[in-house]
Amino acid sequence: MKFVANVDFNGGQLRPLDQSDVDTIVKLYQKQTLAGQSTTASTEHAERMITLSVQMAATQRGLMWAIEIDGQMLGMLSLYDWQPTSLKTLMRLDVLPGITQQQQVDALSTGIDFLAKKYHLRNFSFHCLPTDDEAMMSTIQQVGFIQQACLRDFRRISQTEFSDVLVFNKILELAPETQHEGESA
């Protein structure tokens, strides 16, 4: 059964991860421009991530899309902490240098539109470290994400060191049919 949909965007496609993506996932996670990326990323980690992407989507805990342009995987758009009851999710965007900022904006906007329409999600968040890639933060702001909080020392980065976490939100208005369903429930 297919749990992750293919979604076309201007010039590319969001699609489920598959085994042929292992090398690209390793490259993405070895970049060290975002939290969680590390030189220790390995083929084994990437294979586990592909398995996890199916498990997460099947249970609506999360979702991982490959961002494909001209037949080549150039990034990933992921959802974590998907809470269907609260209509919200945490997102993550990992990209390789070959993708333009406009393509990232298009991929993210299209992904959000799809999630809003298909799953009624309306509250999207990014958690960024202040040291994260500035281009990524610029991209999400272009899509309409606004910084709402700076959670001090929210993430441990070593045994004795902590980092602030910047919280960006994009909140969509409730669709009229969703409001109606809520009122009549």
């Binding site: 609260s86 209509l87 919200k88 309306r122 509250n123 910084q147 709402q148 909080a149 700076c150 959670l151 001090r152 020392d153 929210f154 993430r155 441990r156 902590f162 919280v167 939100n169 909140i171 809520g182 009122e183």
Partner: protein
């Protein structure tokens, strides 16, 4: 490790079997729960269930709950808890349910100082966060008076009775100057 704490005017202690009525009286009061937001309990069975959940969450190392008993009267006036323990990032969420007569800076300074001391010293936590609704001006003023930092807001965090709730996030770090001063003064500011 001793989880039962003792302040000048209060016993800050774990609940026992005889506390069902105390929990019901506290969490059945609209003024106590309205800013969480939550509906007040309407039958005592809810308090029994809540007491069970308090034990289960503590056993699972997810949370710890204390009832606050006023020494002078023996009355339980509040419940204070540390919830959503994050042992990786060394953080927890503070939550206070308190009768309005005791929702004062002087009373809360004793309760919160006792629990925060245990959190930082015994549990080795680094960050306590306190999610407060904007409408809860009293708690917000008290959080600021204690030196909690306003980290920002979490918009549309949850839905309650048809309305989407925003939380204001306040935090107190073990390394904050205000906490270090509190240790020297053996208490949070009382006024």
């Amino acid at each position: 490790m001793n989880w039962n704490l003792n302040t000048e005017h209060y016993y800050v202690r774990f609940a026992h079997e005889e506390d069902i009525q105390n929990i019901y009286a506290l969490l059945g009061t609209n003024d106590v729960v309205k800013n969480h937001p939550k509906n007040p309990m309407v039958v005592e069975a809810q308090a029994m269930d809540e007491a069970r959940r308090m034990v289960m969450q503590f056993d699972a190392k997810e949370a710890a709950f204390w009832l606050v008993e006023e020494k002078a009267t023996g009355k339980v006036v509040a419940r204070i808890s540390l919830q959503k323990f994050n042992w990786v990032n060394a953080s927890a969420q503070l939550r206070v349910d308190v009768f309005s007569d005791f929702k004062t800076q002087s009373a809360l300074s004793e309760m919160i100082y006792a629990v925060a001391t245990l959190a930082y010293e015994d549990l080795s936590l680094h960050r306590l966060e306190w999610f407060l609704m904007s409408a809860d001006k009293c708690f917000i003023d008290i959080a600021k008076a204690f030196g909690f930092n306003h980290d920002g807001q979490l918009m549309n965090f949850l839905e309650f009775e048809g309305s989407w709730i925003d939380y204001q996030v306040f935090s107190l770090l073990k390394t904050d100057d205000v906490w270090q001063q509190a240790i020297k003064a053996q208490g949070l500011p009382q006024s």
